[in-house]
Symmetry: none
Subunit: 198 residues, 4 copies
Amino acid sequence: MSPEVKTPDPARRSERSRQAILRATRELVSEVGYAKLSIEAIATRAGVGKQTIYRWWRSKGAVVFDSFLALSEGADGMALPDTGDIAADLKAVLRATVAEFADPAFEAPIRALNLEIAGDPELAAQYRKKLAGPVDEAKKERLRSAQRAGQIAADADLDLALELLYAPLYQRWLLRSGPLTAAYADALVDHALRALRP
Amino acid sequence: MSPEVKTPDPARRSERSRQAILRATRELVSEVGYAKLSIEAIATRAGVGKQTIYRWWRSKGAVVFDSFLALSEGADGMALPDTGDIAADLKAVLRATVAEFADPAFEAPIRALNLEIAGDPELAAQYRKKLAGPVDEAKKERLRSAQRAGQIAADADLDLALELLYAPLYQRWLLRSGPLTAAYADALVDHALRALRP
Amino acid sequence: MSPEVKTPDPARRSERSRQAILRATRELVSEVGYAKLSIEAIATRAGVGKQTIYRWWRSKGAVVFDSFLALSEGADGMALPDTGDIAADLKAVLRATVAEFADPAFEAPIRALNLEIAGDPELAAQYRKKLAGPVDEAKKERLRSAQRAGQIAADADLDLALELLYAPLYQRWLLRSGPLTAAYADALVDHALRALRP
Amino acid sequence: MSPEVKTPDPARRSERSRQAILRATRELVSEVGYAKLSIEAIATRAGVGKQTIYRWWRSKGAVVFDSFLALSEGADGMALPDTGDIAADLKAVLRATVAEFADPAFEAPIRALNLEIAGDPELAAQYRKKLAGPVDEAKKERLRSAQRAGQIAADADLDLALELLYAPLYQRWLLRSGPLTAAYADALVDHALRALRP
DNA sequence: CGCTAAACGAGACGGTACGTCGGGTCTTAGT
DNA sequence: ACTAAGACCCGACGTACCGTCTCGTTTAGCG
């Protein structure tokens, strides 16, 4: 009668196994990289049956994604600094981003995550909702504050504004098409603000 | 002294096999996507032994990359239109790019190529040199013309200028984080040019 | 301490797969001969993954050997005829052996088995224990009966006796160094018995 | 019109290459065993193109066979000792054979040769003609001498006589079905001679 | 002595099979 | 009922050799 898709009962799910799987995934991504990551290895490392992974995640990417999601949980109240000087505040934030991208410990997993997202629309949607969304909202909040202070045009498209600020940085990093320096971060902010001036 | 890795002799290489492999790769990427592409399938489709692929390419990504490279060979003298109106010219170009990204026939292989490049620094270097480089140079040439016409600051950083124009578009497409429309292309050009004004 | 080689659990073994593999092996040895027999073909014919073969057998030879072993299982109570006339009884048996060797349907697989055994000491040991052993014991039993009847020296070395009877036959067959006829079988029995007379 | 099978001209054959191939084959059989011997390895070791091997030999077995043949060339005038005492003479010879079989340096190649012969009727014929034949003839000559001396029945079948003497030894060695000792050699001779007595 | 045709070394080629890895499914015990 | 364990079928991996097929390069006989 009904499609009868056997769905596992989340109530009975083992939290211990879930944590072990996410932890093992994070470790393995760091150790061997995303491309060489295997479900088999995750299961072994986590001391878990493969079926337990297949039961709760629909792909390797979903596990990797969740393993990142779990990290950023609780890190929510992420308002940006607001000293009243939008240029200075944005430069501080972008410099921090540049520094993060330069750290090899962050590099590998973040790259893995981005490749995963770029290749899977469904994960991309989840990514925007769960990870990028809240962060972007915090950034836009700071930009709105700048609008109220008359530093940015009142009718500016904030989505586009974020892209002007971050997309060049993102592209350079992803394709390794140029150096990521503090000076570059500053220049980006200067140009973007000029484009957004009232 | 030298690593002494036995390298095959390019002089003896079979051009027929090379072409068949690149062609088969292009077809298969379109048909099954990059993730499900296998060397085995390429070899079979091309009517070639697997060893012939392994002899000349160091990875699946390298084959895919070359298969794209082969397409764009000869398509060199790619100067951008120059009507004297930099805004109009750039809008035309970006609208065309948007249209390309919207075409599903282009989408899949280009995405495959980008994932490949993002994950392999060596391929990325080759990509910049062989594919992106010439195209970027043509774009910069148009910007220089605009500089001479006083439409863009004479001391503008052209690399950054290109990023302001293209990176937002690229990011939206890659992460599917927003709609790609002609209006968006126009808005990008307007903002970028405002940032680059003398 | 222990080598700690991960060993599969025989309790979980699929009897259905085991039978299919042995059956496919027997068929293929008959069809293409031992030299051209491949694990790949066995797996395909048996509808089984290659790994399932590699999990339970250490070599192609071991599979072939087991496929023969499986045939002769249950064929145990193989006492030789005992009419009281040792010469007549042995002649009957050797003539039957000659006939078997002459039958091309038996020829190929038995030759394959013998080559396998000759080349692999471990298989040879198993062969003696599981296949040759019981048969030889039955033959010796008949010889003991002849000893009791005074037709053979009471202190005769029965291992050597068997070799005198069978080794010439075996050698002629294996190296194709002469014709295998009923007359030859009779002559062998006559000579061997003369050598073993009390 | 004619079959037109391109046959190489033996006159132009490179003796240097032939020797190098036979030598390399002998070495490799000793080092890696017959089963793991490859034409590719022989060619490399001999510093010879693969085609040169395929031009002059029709199979791996043929090369191996020839490499043995080359060794025994010149070792022709191989008359057996004849002290007048056939039992003593045969025991000396069989003891020597036992010793040869026990020497691991002889073991591997001789076994390789025997497997090859057992599996290829054409090689077997060549073997009998070129290698076994002359040796057997020498042995028969000694037996004829014994016949003239009245130690062996005048009408004895000498082929069968040789088999009674050697086949048990051969079988024990090939199938590793029992110990090969001097005592065993003596026992064999005693039994065989009893069977052949006038 | 110089030509020429064959044998030669080298090694790329289309293939087959190897033995291994991992994917995703299914079964068996255990908690 | 969910889990750990792991056998199963399957597809692909990257490697080793197969036997064939060019490539220049010796080399040997003959003209």
